[in-house]
């Protein structure tokens, strides 16, 4: 294993220490592992907290700032945060209007956020949560823990964040987050596995001529293995899966997301194929993101997330945002 780390046990704290130095707009509590926007708590504003395993950077700390999250609590690599961290973050951003937790549907995230929400409620902080479960690779939702939460997390955090910034009450912010999730779907493809620093070797083996279809964001195996193919075919597999689950039409918000180890040029190639697919179906990529937003350490591959827009969602997406990883209009 060759990685730019000092010691596997120190990856999260040292990354947070670096983040604090690099971004003066943030306040990073390295000991409690919480990343705050410097202004938090903002009086009268609904606070937004998200979190999950580390290793998905810029998710979640990279989305803390004006117009998006008030705090993020990163757990160990690929491990959800513990309740103490979430409680700390929640209390730290409570401006009196309640706090929204944006939670990805993984058992660990759900349990730890739920425990934290109960502890916060006991202390008089109003907490609501939006559960992100956009991954169409998980088909049999009746017999599983439900769909995984992946790329739509970024959309939900941005749009709910914009509404909270505008002063909307907690119930409305929750509703917007839920609407984004309901209108979003994702599918991921891995070209290589990733290496968790503490494990020291790749999570699974993939031959040079194989790809893994329908991966989540933890380097876990996907729903099927297939022969490697040109970008056009892989993009189509992903988009067909999305389109089959949620027929696409009209204006959509599209994210072609790199898993951490894929060059941007390849992601743009995928985006061109995605755009062509959308046009064939009569849909248009009205807004787009191409880059590394929800990564799996050093994994090569991509995921595509599509949200069917409404005028209101488009306006909220366009609202100013100022975070390390997303910045416009301000």
């Amino acid at each position: 294993m060759k990685k730019l780390i000092n010691h596997p046990d120190d990856v999260v704290t040292e990354a947070l220490a670096g983040m604090a130095l690099a971004h003066p707009g943030l306040r990073v509590d390295v000991a409690n592992r919480v990343v705050y926007r410097r202004a938090a708590p903002v009086r009268g504003k609904v606070g937004l907290v998200s979190g999950g395993g580390s290793g998905h950077e810029p998710l979640h700390g990279g989305f803390v700032g004006h117009g998006m999250l008030d705090a993020a609590c990163p757990g160990e690599v690929f491990t959800s945060p513990v309740p103490d961290q979430v409680v700390e973050a929640t209390k730290g951003v409570d401006g009196g209007a309640g706090v929204l937790h944006v939670v990805k549907n993984y058992t660990g995230d759900v349990l730890n956020f739920q425990m934290a929400a109960e502890l916060c409620a006991e202390e008089g902080v109003e907490v609501a949560s939006v559960l992100v479960d956009d991954d169409v690779a998980v088909t049999d939702s009746l017999h599983t823990a439900g769909r995984r939460g992946t790329g739509a997390t970024v959309f939900a955090e941005k749009i709910a964040g914009a509404l909270a910034e505008a002063g909307a009450p907690l119930a409305e912010v929750v509703k917007a987050g839920e609407e984004v999730v309901a209108r979003s779907r994702s599918f991921g493809v891995a070209l290589t596995p990733c290496t968790v620093p503490a494990a020291g070797r790749p999570t699974f083996a993939l031959e040079p001529d194989e790809v893994e279809l329908g991966i989540g964001i933890h380097g876990e195996p996907g729903r099927a293995r297939a022969a490697a193919a040109p970008a056009r075919e892989l993009a189509r597999v992903a988009m067909e899966a999305v389109h089959t689950d949620m027929p696409l039409s009209g204006d959509v918000l599209v994210m072609v997301n790199g898993m951490g180890g894929t060059p941007l040029a390849e992601l743009y190639i995928v985006f061109a194929e995605v755009a062509a697919f959308l046009r064939e179906k009569g849909a248009a990529p009205a807004r787009s993101l191409v880059g590394n937003y929800v990564t799996s350490l050093d994994m090569q591959g991509f995921s595509v997330t599509v949200c069917r827009l409404t005028d209101e969602l488009t306006a909220l997406w366009d609202a100013p945002v100022d975070t390390p990883a997303l910045r416009w209009g301000r």
């Binding site: 160990e76 993984y106 349990l111």
Partner: protein, 212 residues
């Protein structure tokens, strides 16, 4: 079984988890995200330190402190789930200075019920419940039949091993492995495997007590 017995259990559990850290992590890599052994090792190391720093006065306190420490340190699904196991046991044992075999069996049953409630899992879902539930039944049955605690724990460990093995050909319905669908069939569930380890450590504590 006094407080020292339960502290010895946690120490044995910490040693077992550390020794099997790689195996548990590999089981997890096959179906999940390759961190089960790493996370449990971190949690039990912290639990051991917590027990040393704040020596508990009762078995109940030893287990509650262990559970709370696991929730605070482990994260993921294993933190809350194993935290619940120990907290439920601690609560069930209450303020007593020592636990009878009956009380231990009831505490394990309470732990299983707590895990089922929190994780929403039942036997056959291919989770830790597939090891814990049959172990709890075997323990209760043996204790009620008047079997000595050492032999009752032998029966519990055997039942846990059988349960974990029986889950291998199943399709997971809870936890991260459920996202794999049929592809997880044939893999051992890491949570069931670590549950077997913890029960074996409990037996070891009981056997160690005999030798003393």
């Amino acid at each position: 079984m006094d407080t020292g017995f339960f502290v010895a259990w946690i120490e044995a559990a910490a040693r077992a988890v550390a020794a099997d850290r790689e195996r548990l992590t590999e089981l997890d890599a096959a179906i999940g995200d390759a961190d089960h052994g790493i996370n449990l090792d971190r949690g039990f190391t912290a639990a051991r330190e917590a027990l040393a720093a704040d020596p508990p006065a009762t078995p109940g306190r030893a287990l509650t402190l262990t559970g709370t420490t696991l929730i605070r340190k482990v994260g993921g699904a294993s933190g809350p789930l194993y935290g619940t196991v120990f907290r439920q046991m601690g609560t069930a044992l209450g303020p007593a200075a020592a636990a009878t075999p009956d009380a231990l069996a009831d505490a394990v049953a309470a732990a299983v019920a707590g895990v089922e409630r929190l994780g929403g899992a039942r036997e056959g879902d291919k989770t830790m419940v597939d090891a814990l539930a049959p172990a709890s039944r075997a323990l209760s049955g043996a204790v009620r039949a008047g079997t000595a605690i050492e032999e009752a724990l032998d029966a519990a460990v055997a039942a846990a091993e059988d349960g974990a093995r029986a889950a291998i050909p199943l399709r997971a319905r809870k936890g991260r492995a459920s996202y794999l669908g049929d592809r997880g069939i044939g893999h051992e569930d890491p949570g069931a495997a670590s549950s077997v380890l913890l029960l074996a450590a409990l037996r070891q504590a009981a056997r160690g007590g005999l030798r003393r």
